[in-house]
Symmetry: C2
Subunit: 278 residues, 2 copies
């Protein structure tokens, strides 16, 4: 069975629209910086603009030539940190190689960091301090559980993947909520040992068809976060067709990840707006 | 079988002594602040002094009356941050309730934070950035694996416990090194499912005799980090007597945790010394 993401997503966007519409004196703006105009980044930016406007926010893009020096870029960001009329912004990654991206992300003021890049905000997720911003992808995974009324306490959850941006915050968030989490990676001798006895599997491995129907049990819920593109064809980590034909709940493919990830970005933007203006 | 911690610990302390003795022009000093004179804190401080002096370091204690105001204490710490002759220090926890300890720990300059309390240093462990200081307890667990020549890649490791200071850094360090880690806690329906098939179990749960011989297999290595004191008697998380009588390798009890944890504190101190003076 496919998780009804349309219903989930619509509810979230309706709520966002509602919250934004209650701000009567001005539209909040999501500010973005784009340094490297590659097709993936442009697609991201388009999605962010589209959904920002959908919930009645403004979207403003500041574009740099990709030859911009690191110094000039960091100075510009520092000026946005000081600018009281720009209360939050994102820097679209990746940046060209001559710019040190770690240094860049640390330059963003944590108070304006709606994309959850700054160490300060990352650390807050670890210790369950909710005063910072939420990591956009991991956070919609938590939404799904909430909307499906899944109580995480005591649940056996397998997270497959080892990226800093996804498994670490997901694992921390799940453990903070008393789940039992097994973190598997490409060096795990037999992932099936764990997935077979799991309540939930979260795939974030960028590995085509890694998880098959026979690797899970009939009650396992499958959350598939990443996909790989090989010769123009999209492959998800989970073998979607076989799994969704069974009783197992599984996230739908494709297209839905975007909408929920961006929804969190907009939610962070609204939070930033409220912190700075209310 | 008991892990030969004496040999491990002696080697580490000899190495530390050696490294310190190569600094010929002055002895490094470990500076400490004590605000609340309870018996546990005094014991900690005594151990830190003892082992610092053992490796030929100085140990200097600045003691405050426990009625000291938060403002006065934070001002004092800020003065140490600026004082170039005090390059690192620890603040012995806990502090009295009228002092906000989160605020206090964030006041410590990350460059001088040999006790691994500052968010900046905690975050670095998460992303495997080794430029900061190491968390003292988790780090000796890694030492044990190194000294026993255990290759962590693909190992199945169960971490029992849910504290910010132990499981999170341990889990991050293990996963960074490609282990498969399951984090269990008091809400896990059946911990035995995981411990039975594990290569290594790390107990950090403060729960007397939680892990029994029948919960593990003959090859499982048991690392027991915490103990509980009930009516003056020490209980470890693992049922030591039965497990060590079997083939399983297990950390010895009691007394050894101290020595290795403090060794890491001294190693951090030496690192800080070198950063500031060499």
């Amino acid at each position: 069975m496919i998780i009804d993401w349309k219903k989930i997503s619509e509810k979230i966007y309706e709520k966002l629209k509602d919250d934004v519409s209650q701000i009567t004196w001005e539209k909040p703006t999501l500010w973005a910086i784009l340094v490297w105009e590659n097709s993936a980044s442009l697609r991201y930016i388009r999605q962010k603009r589209k959904w920002a406007e959908f919930v009645w926010m403004n979207f403003e893009l500041k574009q740099f030539d990709e030859k911009v020096s690191e110094e000039e870029l960091l100075e510009f960001i520092a000026s946005w940190n000081k600018n009281r009329s720009i209360s939050w912004y994102i820097v679209q990654l990746p940046v060209p190689q001559h710019i040190n991206s770690t240094k860049l992300l640390r330059t963003i003021s944590p108070d304006k960091d709606v994309d959850w890049f700054h160490p300060e905000n990352q650390w807050k997720i670890l210790i369950w301090d909710t005063s910072g911003f939420a990591p956009c992808t991991p956070y919609w995974v938590m939404w799904i559980f909430k909307k499906l009324n899944i109580d995480l306490i005591g649940k056996k959850i397998v997270v497959i993947g080892r990226s800093n941006i996804v498994w670490k915050p997901i694992t921390a968030m799940l453990i903070n909520r008393w789940a039992t989490v097994t973190c598997c990676n490409s060096q795990t001798p037999d992932i099936t040992e764990f997935t077979k006895m799991s309540d939930i599997v979260i795939c974030a491995a960028w590995q085509p068809w890694l998880l098959k129907l026979e690797d899970i049990n009939d009650d396992t819920i499958v959350i598939d976060v990443w996909f790989t593109v090989i010769e123009g064809k999209i492959y998800w980590d989970a073998e979607f067709d076989n799994i969704h034909a069974n009783w197992n709940l599984i996230t739908p493919v494709p297209g839905w990840v975007w909408r929920l990830t961006v929804a969190n970005l907009l939610k962070n933007t609204l939070k930033a707006y409220k912190i700075w203006n209310m």
